[in-house]
Homo-oligomer: 400 residues x 2
C-alpha cells in the first residue's frame, strides 16, 4: 500500500520485532507510554496524551491499551489493533491530588493476572510517563521489577519499512511546500505571527494535486514553526512574536511537513536584501559542510564518520559546532519530532543501515547572527537520499 493507513500485518511485524528486543533485554512485559510508540504499534492517534495512557505489552498474549474512559470509547476510530478491549479509567480519576489513574490501571492488570514476578520495562525518558504513573505502578504491582527500557521501541523504529519511507517522502513534499510558502511570504514589514499563519496553513493544507494526480494532505507537526530572527537569530527554539520583518535582516526558519504523523523537518535561512559578509561567509562554509556530511550518510558508516566529514570542512573555515549535527526521525508527536535514539555526533558509533532516516541540521548560532540549513534524508548506498526539495543555499530575497 503506497498511501493510506498502515496495514494490520505491518503492525503485527512491528510487535514481533519489539518482542524480540524484549526477549534480548530479558523483559517479561513492557509499559509503552510515548504516543509515537503507541501509534507505531497500534495505530492509535488522538490528542489524548495529556492524561495518562499506556500500551501494556506482555511477552505473549494481546497487548492492552489503557486510557481515560472518554478516549477509550473512541479508540477504535484510529487504533487498528488492540481496540476491542481498551481499559478506560473512570473520569473521576482525572487530575486529582489524592489518587491517580495508574493506581486503577495497576489494579485492573492485577485482576487480569499480570501482577506476577518478572522484569517489566518502562519508558523512563518518555514525556508522557509521569513520575506519579511510575510510582503508582511500582506500588500497585510490587511483584514487578521495574526496568528502564532505554527507548526499546524507539530503537525498533530506527530502520523504516517501505511503507514508512513512502510516508516520509510525502511528509517531505509537505515540508518543501511549506518552506516555499514561507519564503514567498517574507516581505518588508510583515509581522512574524502573520508569517507563522501562512506557514501553519501550508503545513495543514499539504500539497495540492500535481500533474500525476497525487496530492498529500498535511497533518499537524510535532513542533510549531520556529523563527530565529534579528537579535534572536543566535537562539534556537524561539517561537514567533509580533515583531515585523524588516529589509536588511535575515531569519532562520525551522519547520516540518507531517503526513499521518510521519515528519520531515526542514530548515533554511532567508535574507531580505543583501546579507552581511559574516552571514554570507558562514552560509558558504555551512552548506559545504552539510554537503560533505550528506555524502557520508551511507550504510556501514557511523554518525562519527559523518561528523568527521562535517568537522573537516568547518575546521578549514575556523569554525566549530558544539551541538549534534542531527538525529533520527520518523513518527512524531508534540513536543518532538526526533526519535531519541541515534544522534549525529562524534561519540555515536551506531552502524548506519539503509532506510534509517535522519534530520541533518547544520545550525550555526554565532553571537547576534546565525545560519541554519537542514535536510531530511534516508540512508542510501550512494549517500543521503534527500526527502525534501528546497535550494540548499542562503536564500536571498530582494524586495521590489
Amino acid at each position: 500500500m503506497l498511501d493510506g493507513l498502515v496495514t494490520g500485518a505491518e503492525l503485527d511485524t512491528r510487535l514481533e520485532r519489539v518482542r524480540q528486543a524484549m526477549r534480548e533485554a530479558e523483559l517479561d512485559a513492557l509499559i509503552v507510554a510515548d504516543p509515537a510508540n503507541i501509534f507505531y504499534l497500534s495505530g492509535y492517534n488522538a490528542w489524548s496524551f495529556y492524561t495518562p495512557q499506556i500500551l501494556f505489552v506482555p511477552l505473549t498474549g494481546t497487548p492492552i491499551l489503557a486510557m481515560r474512559e472518554m478516549d477509550a470509547l473512541g479508540a477504535h476510530r484510529t487504533a487498528i489493533r488492540y481496540a476491542d478491549d481498551v481499559l478506560g479509567y473512570p473520569e473521576r480519576l482525572v487530575h486529582r491530588p489524592d489518587t491517580h489513574p495508574m493506581v486503577w490501571v495497576a489494579q485492573v492488570l492485577r485482576e487480569r493476572g499480570y501482577a506476577t514476578p518478572g522484569r517489566v520495562g518502562f519508558e523512563g525518558d518518555a514525556h508522557f510517563f509521569a513520575v506519579r504513573s511510575y510510582l503508582a505502578l511500582r506500588d500497585g504491582a510490587p511483584e514487578w521489577t521495574l526496568v528502564e527500557s532505554r527507548e526499546l521501541v524507539n530503537w525498533v523504529r530506527l530502520v523504516k519499512s517501505d511503507f514508512e519511507i513512502g510516508e516520509m517522502r510525502r511528509a517531505g513534499r509537505v515540508a518543501s511546500e511549506a518552506m516555499r510558502c514561507a519564503v514567498e511570504l517574507i516581505e518588508d514589514g510583515r509581522p512574524l505571527n502573520e508569517l507563522a499563519a501562512g506557514v501553519m496553513a501550508a503545513q495543514a493544507r499539504g500539497v495540492p494535486e500535481d500533474e500525476g494526480g497525487e496530492s498529500v494532505d498535511g497533518d499537524y507537526p510535532a513542533i510549531v514553526p520556529m523563527f530565529l530572527y534579528g537579535d534572536g537569530a543566535d537562539t534556537p527554539h524561539l517561537t514567533w512574536t509580533a515583531e515585523r520583518f524588516v529589509r536588511g535582516e535575515a531569519m532562520s526558519i525551522e519547520l516540518a511537513g507531517a503526513h499521518h504523523r510521519y515528519h520531515a523537518p526542514l530548515a533554511r535561512t532567508v535574507s531580505l536584501g543583501a546579507p552581511s559578509r559574516d552571514l554570507d561567509r558562514l552560509a558558504g562554509a555551512t552548506v559545504e559542510g552539510l554537503n560533505a556530511a550528506l555524502a557520508e550518510l551511507k550504510p556501514g558508516n557511523t554518525p562519527a564518520d559523518v561528523t568527521a566529514a562535517w568537522d573537516a570542512v568547518l575546521a578549514r573555515y575556523d569554525l566549530e559546532k558544539k551541538s549534534r549535527l542531527g538525529y533520527s526521525i520518523g513518527i512524531g508527536f508534540p513536543p518532538d519530532w526526533g526519535e531519541r535514539t541515534v544522534s549525529i555526533r562524534a561519540d555515536d558509533t551506531t552502524v548506519l543501515q539503509e532506510n534509517m532516516t535522519f534530520h541533518v541540521i547544520a545550525g550555526m548560532w554565532m553571537t547576534g547572527y546565525g545560519f541554519e540549513v537542514s535536510e531530511s534524508v534516508r540512508v542510501a548506498p550512494g549517500g543521503a537520499d534527500v526527502l525534501t526539495d528546497a535550494p540548499r543555499t542562503l536564500i536571498i530575497k530582494e524586495t521590489p
Copy 2:
C-alpha cells in the same frame, strides 16, 4: 500595563506566593518542570521543553534555571528573571542511554551547596519531568527527601492578577475570531485539513486592528484544532483527516485563542444544513444546562454547586454527563491548556473566588453524534464573565 510583557515586579510577587505555599507545605526547595510554571515565575518561553529543564526554587536566594546549553545561552531573550546565571548542561548529555542531563544538574546544585538535608518538592504529574529526571535527582542528592508537590505552583496560578485577566481577554478575542473563521470556512466538500489550515492561520494571525486601534497577535495554542465530525462526532480529542465535510453532517469544533501563552478555549457545533431532530434536541438541552451552570459560577459557590445546576437541567431531559464540566485555565504549553487543579464536577469543593478562570465545556458525546458548546470565563460576582464572543447555540449553516 495593559498589554505587553509581564513586569518583573509581578514575577516577584508570584515567587513570594509560591514560597508562602512552600512554607505551608514545609518544603525547603521546589523543582519546577512544567513549562507553564517556569513561564509563570520567570517569563522564560521557548520550545525547549522536549529536553529536560527545571527551575530550582530554594526557599531563600535566587531561583536557578537549568537547561540544555544551547537554550541556556539564549534564555535572556525571554526570561525576565533568573537569566543571568543559567546552568547549561553540555550537549553531549542530550538523548543518551548511559547518562542523563539531570545527573549533571544534581552535581552542579551539590557544588553550589544545595544538596543538604531537607524536603524538596517535585512535580510528579508534570509532562516534562521524566522518571529518569526524578531518579537522577534522587540518586544525585540522597540528602534530599523528595516530596510530591501536588501541583503547588499550579494552585498558586489559580486566581489571576489584573494583568493576567487582560491577557485572557485578549486570548478570548483571538478565540472568537478563529471560531468565526472556522464557521465561515465550512462548506460542502471542503476537506477537514483545509479547514484546519484556515483555523490555525486565524489563531496565529489573531485579531486585526479594531475601531479603537487595538489589535491582538496570536500565539500558538497548546492543542491543535480538534474536529469531531461524522461518525467520529462521538469521540473527543480526534484531530483532523483529509475527509470532506458534506452537507447534512454536523461537526463540533474545539479550539483556543492564545496570546502571550494565555489561553481561552472555545467549542461550538456547526450543522451544514438542517440538523437531525436528535441533535437539535441535544443542543437545546445542553445550552440550557450550560447557561444554568454559568449563572452559578460566582465567588463563594463551589464546582459542586455549578455541577448541580447543570445536572438539574440535564435530568429534565433524561440526559447525564459522566465527565467533568470544565477545568481551570490560564497559561498553557503543549499538550494541555488546562491548569490541572480545579475541575468542575460534583466532588470538587474548592470555594470559587473572583478572577479564577475556567473553560466550562458542555461536551455531550452520544452514539454516532455529539454536541459541544463551551465558554472561557472569569468568576465574577454576578456569575460567569464570558471572555469569548460567539453565538451560544447550535450554529446552522445553510449551503447556497
